[in-house]
């Protein structure tokens, strides 16, 4: 079971309290009806599914119930960092994930 740090509660909690909500930073069109089939497919079905660093959404379902984003390595399942919803996708990742958690 993963230990996940909720950036709102500022606590590391067991995975059972959370729901994964899929890949992060996929922008929903403001004009969905005007989307082409190609663009709708990219938005709705195509996923990066990376072997390595993934940017994903989680929801602290049985805690504060809020959505947030996380950066995780899909090979080791280790979290690099978590950050609040709405914050930009981090361009530089911390080298040592433990330092971030310790903050």
């Amino acid at each position: 079971m993963l230990l996940i740090r909720c950036p709102y509660c500022e606590e590391e909690r067991p995975e059972l309290e959370f729901r994964n909500a899929g890949e992060a930073h996929i922008a929903r069109s403001a004009n969905m009806a005007g989307e082409s089939d190609d663009d709708f497919e990219k938005f709705f079905f195509i996923r990066s599914n990376p072997k390595g660093i993934i940017y994903e959404r989680w929801r602290h379902m049985h805690g504060c119930a809020r959505f947030f984003n996380a950066v995780r390595d899909t090979v080791t399942d280790k979290f690099v960092m978590t950050y609040k919803a709405g914050e930009p996708k981090p361009t530089k990742l911390p080298k040592n994930s433990n330092e971030v958690v310790a903050k």
Binding site: D37, E41, N49, T76
Partner: protein, 417 residues
């Protein structure tokens, strides 16, 4: 290839078993092949086998980054059935089921296909409606499936708890008698032996690191840890890593990869005579010929390539097993493991040509690909050989996620997801 038979056993017994030959050879890779298959699991090896036997294409390499059959082929729970709801699914899964029947003879290799029946339990009104709909849909498609009362279910599987006092009482069940199990490793080995004997090169410990494309976009071959290998046709059959390989060719896929776990108990005398599945309590179980109870769990909720999953997933499954079979509450579990399954948004596979000329993909089997192995290899070989899909796999395109012609098969795993 020396044929296996009772006479071969007698002959070898007479001379100290010194005459058995290797089941497949491990040749050095050539510079170029007519077809490269990426992934030596059951589906990839079956594809190579049918390319050689049905289409006469033997200049084929099957590249495997690890060892043959060491991915999901060796990690699944070996269940075979074809009781899927939609016509497209019924077509492909029953095509496979028909090939299972007689596969041991075809391959001259005992894959231990045992049509012991797959029983799916209903615990509430909704289950009854859904399963009866499946029974009717299957029968319209010529697939055997029948409805059982709780008493008939108990008769078919005596250790099942059909007490009315159960928290989730069994109120009925559907039964596909042709469903059952097979020996998963033997399927990979049998296809590998058959393909190798016809000249197919099976190259293990050879990881694909890139897909090379010509100026016109067509496939030229693949970069591997053993150097570049050329081919004008490349079939990607890499299960959980399919999207990784497809990305190397510049194709983004509607796939996500999740860990899926399974576990087996200590071996016991025969006690579960069939396969039992339940959507509602979320578990399924069968018994191997070695005597282990083989139990399948659900996927973890997050994308991962770690081939391991959370313990709470197994615990949840075992809770459900003990609910269905209270007699197993004191059984000891022997081992558990995880595999990485590639899941499509509609839970149906993709077996198709791709936007890249010469590149073909067979993926998205999600949590239930083993049962389809012979059928999948058979129609995928057709797709590669003719550069045109077989009518059976024609609906399983990548483009369906753009056009909306989904094959929305919630029955794919037979457990809720």
């Amino acid at each position: 290839m020396k044929k296996y038979s009772v006479f071969a056993i007698a002959r070898e017994a007479m001379r100290g078993h010194k005459g058995w030959e290797e089941q497949w050879s491990s040749p050095e890779p050539r510079k170029e092949y007519d077809v490269i298959i990426v992934g030596a699991g059951g589906h990839g090896l079956a594809t190579a086998y049918y390319l050689a036997t049905v289409h006469g294409i033997t200049n084929v390499a099957v590249l495997e980054k690890g060892w043959l059959g060491g991915g999901n082929t060796g990690r699944n729970t070996t269940i075979i059935r074809s009781n899927y709801l939609y016509d497209e699914s019924a077509g492909i899964y029953d095509h496979a089921l028909k090939l299972w029947d007689g596969l041991s003879q075809e391959l001259n290799y005992n894959v231990m296909y045992s049509a012991r029946g797959v029983m799916m339990l209903a615990h509430n009104v909704h289950d009854v409606q859904v399963l009866k709909r499946h029974v009717h849909a299957n029968r319209l498609n010529g697939i055997d499936n029948e409805w059982l009362t709780p008493e008939q279910a108990k008769e078919f599987c005596p250790p099942l708890n059909t007490s009315k006092e159960a928290r989730y009482p069994v109120v009925g069940a559907s039964l596909q008698r042709r469903g059952g199990t097979a020996r998963h490793d033997a399927v990979a080995w049998g296809y590998a032996r058959g393909a190798s004997a016809r000249g197919v090169h099976i190259i293990q410990n050879c990881e694909v690191t890139g897909v090379k494309r010509a100026a016109n976009g067509a496939v030229m071959g693949v970069d591997t840890t053993r150097g570049f290998i050329g081919a004008k046709k490349v079939g990607v059959v890499a299960a959980g890593h399919s999207s990784v390989i497809m990305n190397m060719a510049g194709v983004r896929m509607p796939l996500e990869s999740y860990p899926l776990q399974a576990l087996v108990s200590e071996p016991v005398k025969p006690v579960v005579p069939c396969v039992v599945m339940s959507n509602t309590v979320h578990a399924y179980i069968s018994q191997s010929d070695k005597g282990e109870l083989v139990i399948g769990a659900g996927t973890d909720q997050y994308v991962s390539y770690s081939q391991t999953g959370g313990l709470h997933i197994l615990q949840h499954t075992l809770d459900a097993i003990c609910e269905m079979f209270p007699i197993f509450t004191r059984m000891k579990m022997l081992r558990s493991w995880g595999g990485i399954v590639d899941v499509t948004p509609d839970r149906s596979p993709i077996l198709a040509k791709t936007p890249v000329p010469g590149l073909y993909v067979n993926c998205g089997w999600g949590t239930g690909g083993f049962k389809a192995t012979p059928g999948s290899g058979h129609v995928f070989a057709h797709t590669i050989a003719r550069d045109d899909p077989h009518p059976i796999n024609a609906p399983f395109t990548i483009e369906r996620f753009r056009t909306g012609r989904l094959i929305d098969e919630a029955a794919a795993a037979a457990v809720a997801h």
